[in-house]
Subunit: 413 residues, 2 copies
């Protein structure tokens, strides 16, 4: 390796030794390896059918556009693309995002209102770092996105779940919870094609939730990775469009509409938040990959985002319909609502079922899903499950639902 051989005086070393007495920070007590993640690792074999992931179909990735965009970026600006870059993100991409949100949602953003993050997951971590002291109250939908729980948990908040129905968060439940916890720091919501339920909030609910949130001056974190993946129905304005007080932080992502491998997402938020978020990000990773931001920008110059998205939604809609059809046919005891977009279908078995136990038995049937209980920060609801339909073609969906039905029908509730 080195030009002269290294002076090595001893072999290895303490690496094999498991220092049992490492004094971890208290916050790590709640960092536990998810047993589901461990089970799902076992299932990562080709003859398995997994409805567990929340991942796009890689056969739909725009690889030709990636190739062309990369070539252009390297040709025109490799010195910038491969170099360190400002923490805030690549200027033209920030401008593009502001313009896209303005055009789509009727907002009045500037590039300076946008921070590029390493996936929108990083936005969640930075927001936790910025806002959450130990014991602070985080309000969320019940159920809510598992990755948000994981991002916020190290900052030791208290999660309070707000009731939801098929139209989204229930305003009365939010109102009474905020009356009980008026000091709540943060309201986390996924209003479009929610992970895990696939539900979309109605226009009325969006307005009422923001009216209530405004009265209590709670910071609203609106997570919207799936909004573009709309199969039917109107596109509804984000919570940010009803924000009169500068209290909404909106998280967007290119992972579901272009591809996840670049890890490029963003936060659009009032400057009072964004300035601190930039400082936090600087200590966390200096900046998001410069070349990746420039490639994404270049891809968006080649064709519109809606052109990229239109390739996906036809296929995903067919798969949703296929899954819904086979479920009705083969597994009528699983209740579900048809999602209008996104990647997930949310199923409920009769209450005596435990879907974690079911998943363990799934190994024998070579079928995987995510037990719904994982999405409730305070536990319970073990009779629910999240099924992903974006990754498997119709034949595998048919086969997979067959295995799921066989699994359930051969198991005692």
């Amino acid at each position: 390796m080195a030009q002269q051989r290294t002076v090595v005086e001893q072999g290895n070393s303490g690496l094999g030794k498991q220092a049992g007495r490492v004094r971890f920070a208290k916050r790590t007590d709640r960092m536990k390896a998810s047993e589901i993640r461990e089970i799902l690792k076992l299932m990562a074999q080709p003859d398995f059918i997994s409805f567990a992931g929340g991942i796009p179909d890689p056969d739909l990735f725009p690889v030709e556009e990636v190739r062309i965009a990369t070539e252009r970026v390297l040709q025109q600006s490799f010195r910038t693309a491969l170099q360190y870059a400002p923490t805030e993100g690549y200027g033209p991409l920030r401008e593009w995002i502001a313009a896209y949100m303005n055009e789509t949602f009727g907002l009045g953003l500037e590039g300076a209102d946008v921070l590029i993050t390493s996936g929108s997951q990083q936005g969640l971590d930075l927001i936790g770092k910025l806002l959450l002291d130990e014991g602070d109250v985080v309000l969320c939908e019940s159920p809510t996105y598992l990755g948000a729980i994981q991002a916020f948990q190290p900052y030791n908040p208290r999660f309070i779940e707000i009731e939801t129905d098929n139209d989204g968060m229930i305003p009365e439940s939010l109102e009474s919870t905020l009356a009980a916890y008026p000091e709540a720091k943060l309201l986390y919501a996924v209003p479009n094609y929610q992970n895990p339920t696939g539900r979309t909030w109605s226009l009325e609910r969006r307005k009422r939730v923001m009216e209530i949130a405004a009265r209590y001056a709670v910071t609203v974190v609106e997570d919207d990775p799936y909004g573009e993946l709309r199969f039917e129905g109107d596109r509804l304005p984000p919570l940010q469009a009803f924000d009169q007080q500068g209290q909404v932080m909106y998280l967007g992502s290119f992972s579901k509409v272009l591809c996840p491998g670049y890890r490029v997402g963003w936060t659009a938020a009032p400057k009072v938040y964004l300035e601190k978020m930039v400082l936090a990000k600087q200590g966390v990773d200096l900046h998001t990959s410069s070349i990746n931001q420039m490639i994404i920008y270049e891809m968006l110059q080649q064709q519109s985002l809606s052109a990229y998205v239109s390739r996906l939604i036809g296929t995903y809609k067919e798969r949703r319909d296929a899954m819904a059809g086979v479920l009705r046919e083969k597994l009528p005891e699983l209740k579900f609502q048809l999602p209008q977009g996104g990647l997930f279908l949310w199923g409920e078995l009769p209450e005596q079922w435990n879907c974690r136990t079911l998943l363990e038995n799934g190994v024998q049937h070579k079928i995987a899903f995510v037990p719904g209980g994982s999405f409730y920060p305070n536990g319970g609801h073990e009779h629910t499950m999240r099924l992903n339909y974006s990754l498997s073609d119709e034949q595998r969906i048919r086969e997979g639902v067959g295995r799921l039905a066989a699994l359930i029908h051969s198991t005692q509730a």
Copy 2:
């Protein structure tokens, strides 16, 4: 954008409003915009000469190798490269890193001992998250890397500086400090071509520091981004080679030897640390860009790391020599030691000088550097400065040092 027009009921919105009453977490009190960063932004103009950054010369980036590697990755495995990926990192790259460290340092690592991070800066944040409770003691060199201070500070530790000289950390100072703070959580060190001082620890010092650290069972964080950039002298083994207890976490990076734009670094550490670090990273950004990891791996298949490095060190050594020569000639009142590698030269003016004030006046002379006081977590030492020589060619170095001399000679101490 959307296939049907969005229902937009109102224009913007609260984004312009600066909610003055945002209740940030207590930890953000210490997140302040660096005044230096602000000054340096002003200086980012082409006729400025900046010795401030710590960045590689982009004209030396291996752009052809990047192009070939990208093409291969997209050709052979775009489905994996553009998809979500395991938090731990790309398996073949982890194996490569383990083999490289084993060959270079005589260690006995496996791929499983390595976590890929989004730059080694992310390793620092994750380590802070893992280990630091409020008030915990962090020991560091005096001075130390500014980015480590920024990464650890949000976890509210107490920084205690250990005295250093030209051979590195002074064991007697470490010993007496640990006797006073036996519960110290973490010892942070940059033993090779340190940022900011350019100093390299002697072999004897490495051994003695590890003997003392072993007695106190403090976690040692060894940050080694510059180790490969060696102009002369022996390559010395890392602290990790003297670790008998499994207490060293080693941070490496491809930013200085290939290019920073991919944001790919790593942590090699005992499993008891690494397992928790993976959990923390999962909540923070899910994983580091999959395509970037695969491109870096592919670049290392094309040629050895030492072949990439050998292009750099010839040029950087010439620039170091040029800067040292012109400094001796034009600015004899600036004391410095010649660094044996890396990117930085550390200068000390007589004690009555204040380099922050000097920098402010630098705007008129179109010259920038980093005031050394920034690298002392507990302040002081304002008569020092860090000068970078990697980014400017010899002519600009000569011109820049001339401006620096003119600045100093036209200013009252």
